[in-house]
């Protein structure tokens, strides 16, 4: 039996971004003793980087907005592949979740009559995004962080201990979810600072670990985004859903090289910024797809009028959903009409006065000035697509956020799949975090309390195995004469392969090549070795993260190879059209390898098994929210007549 520290909690939340913190607040308010664990310092999770806003149909700026319109926009954005019940709950509950933040001290930008101001964003019919300049994520995470602190202050008053019922384990990482038979029994963790292992025993675990962007070379995501939660779920026996759908945000910085991929918020376009190619042309007018033809302006004049008079004009095509804009930029660059550093131009300088730019887009102004020597009030930015968000994720029950097939496991936020279908609209993530974070916390707490005394026990053999697995990089032995591998090198090769072979435009042969490369990397990753000791050792942590990135990358590549159509965040050059018969198909990824990721070097079989599943028909009253003419574009014949 491995000697390590053990603690008992009712609910363990893995992740301290918007989803994790909202889940923890809810679980604690339901009376569950709740532990939150996160890889970085408290308050630094990825959510802090979100810029543009939170989508919620409060109708403060245009009273025509309501949850039905938001639901419609979300389904259109996701090309109807969304788990519709999630999209419904999300649209219905988002306003309450935003208003609640104000009661915890959030200070959003205001309208003239003192309500929360809302801004335009791609794919949203009305101004819908609550925001604070372009630092909305910071406001969100700080508000949740301060709410947690206030709950801790309550406990301090009541029990004399801030951490009596809610504790944050910062700079700690979960490497395994533990189970007894099929039920969750806890989490195996290490502490970065000391390298010590510990076990949190709990019947309910909420995964809220965010995304997978660090498997791609050009990305807006931070080092934390190694797909840990996705991998933890797979290893615990839960399936992942629709992993082929990866969002490439159309506007990332392209120069200088060291900042390539860093996000340029969509608010730049929402507030009036336009895209131009090297000929100075607003090329987006050439890229409005048929399904969206009636909804977007046909001339620059009409598009420009829309900002002032949205009721009588159609919106400019710069505000199409992200997948459309990203593909358009990609085509322009390929056709030789790109900017000097391989992007296109995004311009606000000719569109509004310098002082308005500085007020509405302060952090973009700052970011370009400091990092690229570009003053966006006088010259255009250069931008290009960057890997930004994963729509795919853990398959969950819509109402409870429970992971399918593993009692006690829950998932919320970017790590959960389904909500956004094949493409997420901007602003719909922050609202998703709050709506489903709360639901996950609620149901995890209920599940834990229903078990009462009959909690699953921690299996010692699993703890021993997890410890051995985590220590392996220190004893990586040269095998058959081959030297230990440098984890940084392996990571770079993985990122390059995913970027080049399973990136924004996909081809059959390249994805097969990617699977070969992943198999090779799996073999080499077994020899990943590290220097130094266990205290705050980034090389070691990367070596452990490789397991997760390899699993998740394989899911993306395999599912992308299987789906022979183009839809949302999945574009195939060899299957360029959307195919209605694929609309009802979900691809589930399950772990195939019985040794759980330690072997599996065969490129053909690999570690992942795909299962195809037919989705539930969309509820009739929700379908009735759309015009028949629109539905024909998405739904298969038989669905229309059901």
């Amino acid at each position: 039996m491995t000697q390590l520290e053990r603690q008992q909690w009712d609910v363990v939340v893995v992740g301290a971004g918007g989803a994790g913190l909202r889940a923890a607040i809810e679980a604690r308010e339901q009376g569950a003793r709740t532990a939150v664990i996160c890889k970085s310092l408290f308050g630094k999770a990825h959510t802090v980087m979100a810029e543009g806003g939170i989508a919620a149909s409060m109708g403060n700026v245009n009273s025509g907005d309501n949850w039905q319109v938001h639901f419609r926009d979300t389904m259109r954005g996701g090309k109807f592949l969304n788990q519709w019940r999630m999209a419904e709950l999300h649209a219905r509950e988002a306003p309450d979740r935003v208003w609640e933040l104000e009661t915890w001290g959030a200070l959003f930008d205001r309208t003239a009559d003192g309500r929360i101001s809302q801004r335009n964003f791609g794919g949203h019919e009305y101004p819908r995004l609550a925001h604070v300049g372009d630092r909305t994520g910071l406001e969100l995470i700080r508000t949740l962080q301060q709410k947690i602190v206030s709950l801790q202050q309550d406990d301090k008053r009541e029990f004399g201990d801030y951490e009596a019922r809610l504790k944050v384990f910062q700079e700690c990482t979960v490497t395994r979810v533990l189970k007894e038979d099929d039920r969750v029994s806890g989490a195996f963790c290490y502490e970065r600072e000391s390298g010590r292992f510990f076990v949190l025993e709990a019947p309910a675990v909420v995964l809220a670990t965010g995304g997978i962007g660090k498997s791609f070379k050009v990305t807006s995501n931070s080092w934390e985004y190694t797909g840990d939660g996705h991998a933890l779920a797979l290893l615990a026996g839960a399936p992942l859903l629709n992993m082929e759908f990866v969002q490439f945000h159309p506007t990332g910085m392209v120069w200088p090289p060291s900042v390539k991929g860093i996000l340029v918020t969509e608010s730049v376009r929402g507030d009036g910024g336009v895209l131009r190619n090297s000929d100075g042309k607003r090329f987006m007018f050439d890229y409005v797809p048929d399904v969206f033809k009636e909804k977007y302006a046909e001339s620059e004049e009409e598009g420009d009028r829309w900002y002032e008079d949205p009721d009588h004009n159609r919106r400019p095509p710069e505000l199409l959903p992200r997948d459309e804009v990203a593909r358009a930029i990609n085509s322009e660059v390929k056709a030789g009409r790109g900017s000097p550093h391989g992007g296109v131009f995004l311009d606000v300088s000719t569109r509004m006065p310098a002082e308005v730019i500085r007020r509405r887009l302060p952090s973009m102004h700052h970011q370009f000035k400091e990092l690229a020597d570009v003053d966006i009030t006088v010259e255009p930015m250069e931008v290009g697509p960057t890997c930004h968000y994963v729509m795919g994720g853990i398959a969950v029950e819509s109402d409870t956020a429970a992971a399918r097939g593993v009692p006690g496991l829950f998932a919320a936020g970017e790590v959960a799949g389904g909500m956004h279908g094949s493409n997420r609209l901007g602003g719909n993530s922050l609202s998703d975090l709050l709506v489903f974070g709360r639901r996950a916390g609620l149901h995890a707490a209920e599940y834990a309390s229903a078990l009462a005394g009959a909690r699953p026990a921690v299996d010692e053999a699993q703890v021993d195995l997890a410890a051995a697995e985590a220590l392996r990089p220190f004893s990586a032995e040269p095998q058959e004469g081959a030297a230990p591998e440098n984890p940084y090198t392996l990571h770079q090769e993985l990122q390059q392969a995913m970027n080049d072979l399973v990136g924004i435009i996909r081809r059959d042969a390249e994805m097969r090549q990617a699977l070969e490369k992943l198999a090779e990397l799996r073999v080499r990753a077994r020899r990943a070795g590290v220097e130094g000791h266990r205290q705050f050792n980034p090389g070691w942590h990367l070596a452990l993260d490789l397991r997760n990135m390899l699993l998740v990358s394989e899911c993306v590549a395999r599912a992308a190879l299987e789906r022979t159509e183009s839809r949302g965040g999945h574009t195939r050059e060899d299957w360029p059209a959307m195919d209605r018969s694929w609309r009802r198909a979900n691809l589930l990824c399950r772990l195939a390898d019985p040794t759980e990721g330690l072997a599996a070097t065969d490129p053909v079989r690999g570690q992942i098994r795909l299962v195809r599943e037919e989705t539930e028909p969309i509820r009739a009253d929700l379908l009735a929210l759309f015009e028949k003419e629109e539905l024909v574009k998405y739904l298969a014949e038989e669905e229309l007549y059901e």
Binding site: D96, L263, Q367
Partner: protein, 257 residues
Amino acid sequence: MTTYDASFRVWRGDTGGGALEDFKVEVNEGEVVLDIIHRLQATQVPDLAVRWNCKAGKCGSCSAEINGRPRLMCMTRMSVFSHEETITVTPLRAFPVVRDLVTDVSFNYQKAREVPAFVPPKGVAAGEYRMQQVDVERSQEFRKCIECFLCQDTCHVVRDHEENKGAFAGPRFLMRIAELDMHPLDAADETGLDRKRTAQDEHGLGYCNITKCCTEVCPEHIKITDNALIPLKERAVDRKYDPLVWLGNKIGRRSGS
């Protein structure tokens, strides 16, 4: 693209002590100090400990001292140094070292807990909050804070005076008190909590002698001293010594809202 080899001197060590180590490392056009630290990790010292997340000045993780000045590594461009210069990177001095460039910043989290939370106004339901932009702007400036703790590191009250840490919240958390105090709907006074007074009595506002060093290092360009600390001091003084002003403020505030 210009590429050259720079001389870096990086502090390496842990709780048991350490020393500066010299490195030669490649630098490319447009890079920032954090890029160079990452290159050192990837090519020479894989276990070099450093914190970072966003690489865009938004998360406040990568704080360190560069040539003795508290800065964000991801927002310090290499082009501000000459090619010949040796660039020295050391951990934040005001906090105990954990390892290499990583320090134990728990002091800040402790202080955060000691500031009483926002008190929602009674009888105002969620969704019914009404505030004017001009009224929220003052607190919004302080909420731009990314908690990099550079101001906490630089403030002389604690920088070389460990003994003051117990009594002094530091500029970041005194500013948090000012933020709540200026929040148009915070109802703390209705619960008998006078935020200004506690700033003075419990969080060590009196130690601050408005040197403005904190404002100078703030990467968010928040006017910590002028906009948060000085107003807090002025009103703390008012309140302490003039009960009539105190009463007047309270009444004015009630009827104004």
